[in-house]
């Protein structure tokens, strides 16, 4: 179940960048 804890550094970097981007997107988009 928690095998993703063993994922490679690339996976972690991608996800940290992606989460930061989506978080910023939520902040930036104001309708």
């Amino acid at each position: 179940m928690f095998r993703f804890m063993l994922y490679k550094p690339g996976w972690w970097i991608l996800h940290i960048v992606a989460i930061a981007f989506v978080f910023w997107l939520g902040h930036a988009i104001r309708f």
Partner: protein, 157 residues
């Protein structure tokens, strides 16, 4: 040309037409030069019409095209639902547009699955629903995107 590549070409054409339709609809209702938000569908649309079909065609970039296509569908679903909640007062106001967008997702998945096919008797592997490249993996990403996007919108003013 094999029947498989003809089928693949047809599916890529379907993807281009769906993406082009969505892009042109956005151009009319949200001109990209008026507001910065309108750049999101403008750029996603160009990527879907021009770059993704090429990436889907070539085997080395196929998996990337599959992931980017699905992520753009998730992005569109979340931003359109957000827009609908703010402007129309209901999350279901743009359901028709979101439904069309998921058509694009299905076409992208069909291209990917077609390319993964060994022969016509190839049986769909069971289990691992939440693992890449299965549908559950997309469900996880849709939920995670929604949570992170909502957090950014609510917590970071």
């Amino acid at each position: 040309m094999t029947r498989k590549s003809t089928l693949k070409l047809t599916l890529i054409a379907a993807l281009v037409f769906l993406a082009l339709g969505g892009w042109l609809l956005h151009l009319r209702t949200h001109p990209p030069l008026q507001e910065a938000e309108n750049l999101v569908p403008f750029i996603s649309g160009i990527a879907s019409v021009v770059i993704l079909p090429v990436m889907f065609w070539f085997r080395p970039t196929l998996a990337y095209a599959y992931v980017i296509n699905g992520m753009l569908v998730i992005l569109g679903t979340i931003t359109m639902t957000h827009f609908s909640i703010v402007e129309l007062g209901t999350p279901f106001g743009l359901l028709a547009d979101i439904a069309l967008l998921w058509g694009k997702f299905a076409v992208g998945k069909a291209i990917f699955d077609l390319e993964m096919l060994k022969d016509d008797k190839d049986i769909q592997p069971k289990g691992r629903y939440f693992r890449y490249p299965n549908t559950g993996w997309w469900l996880v990403h849709l939920v995670a995107w929604s949570v992170v996007y909502a957090a950014g919108n609510i917590l970071w003013k």
